[in-house]
């Protein structure tokens, strides 16, 4: 069946979109758990070591789903995504900016995960600083999903994304409210950045992905744009 927006309809295409969404959810949960970890949250059912282990394990699960997401996006021939597009941003042909953000997010995620695995070798202070890249990774991953995904106009991805954003904002505010990091200027800056991001998102969404002709404006190659009867490359 053809859809009024660019798609290939192959299994890989569905897997890419679904694993992408799951990765976003897992990243959101990881971030929330990370905040719970650093703010020393604990309860009778959720002791500190459980929160910490969950944080690490959910992040690894996110890496797994991210791997499937990237693999299936390459395997699916529709958008002609090359392996290199997964790690080098902005060089692809399909929605280069928005896909590129995905590559940036992936790079950041790799940095965070690899440094965490090697943390004993690098010294605590260095590890802590690099781990903060996680706060940069998440919004970039979100923008990638909203910009690249072809499902944004259907409610489920939009509500999912907004739900994840709400959870992340709550987590960030909780962290700032708990008094970490100690520098008031840094906290104010972080709160400002979070507010600016949300505000910017609120302005951009209706004009961008939810607006007219987003597929064309976001850089989908002309050959792939189509309404009914558009030619579909043969899926492998």
């Amino acid at each position: 069946m053809t859809l009024p927006i660019a798609s290939s309809g192959s299994i890989d295409w569905y897997l890419t979109r679904s694993t992408g969404a799951v990765t976003l959810i897992l990243l959101t949960i990881t971030l929330a758990l990370g905040v719970a970890d650093v703010t020393r949250f604990s309860s009778a059912r959720w002791p500190r070591f459980v929160i910490d282990s969950l944080h690490r394990n959910v992040s690894l699960l996110a890496v797994l789903f991210l791997a499937i997401h990237v693999l299936t996006s390459i395997l699916d021939g529709f958008a002609q995504i090359q392996p290199i597009d997964a790690v080098i941003p902005f060089v692809g042909s399909y929605r280069p900016l928005w896909l590129g953000l995905g590559a940036v997010a992936l790079d950041l995620m790799l940095a965070v995960v690899l440094t965490s695995m090697l943390r004993r070798r690098m010294g605590y202070a260095t590890w802590r600083t690099t781990h903060w890249l996680a706060y940069a990774c998440w919004p970039i991953a979100l923008l990638h999903g909203l910009g690249t995904g072809s499902d944004v106009q259907s409610s489920w991805l939009l509500y999912l994304s907004l739900g994840c954003l709400a959870l992340v904002l709550t987590a960030v505010l909780a962290r700032l409210a708990s008094g970490w990091p100690a520098d008031l200027g840094v906290r104010a800056g972080a709160a400002g950045a979070a507010a600016a991001f949300s505000f910017g998102l609120a302005l951009w969404l209706p004009a961008g992905p939810l607006g007219e002709h987003w597929a064309r404006r976001s850089g989908t190659p002309a050959a792939l744009l189509g309404g009914h009867g558009a030619k579909r490359p043969v899926s492998r």
Partner: protein, 68 residues
Amino acid sequence: MSEQLRVNPIACEAHGMCAELLPERITLDEWGYPIIDQEPLSPELLEHARRAAQACPTFALILRRRVR
């Protein structure tokens, strides 16, 4: 050959996971910092002690062979 638990008090940031994972030997003071009971560790407890040392987010809990 016995192992000894030590805390690096400078690295310790009172996360408190050690006391959860080895309550037989580690309790927390009212500010959240660990107090270690230096009673020798039995073989079963040794496993838990290792896990506790690995779980410490700041590498403050150290399990080392008793030198003397």
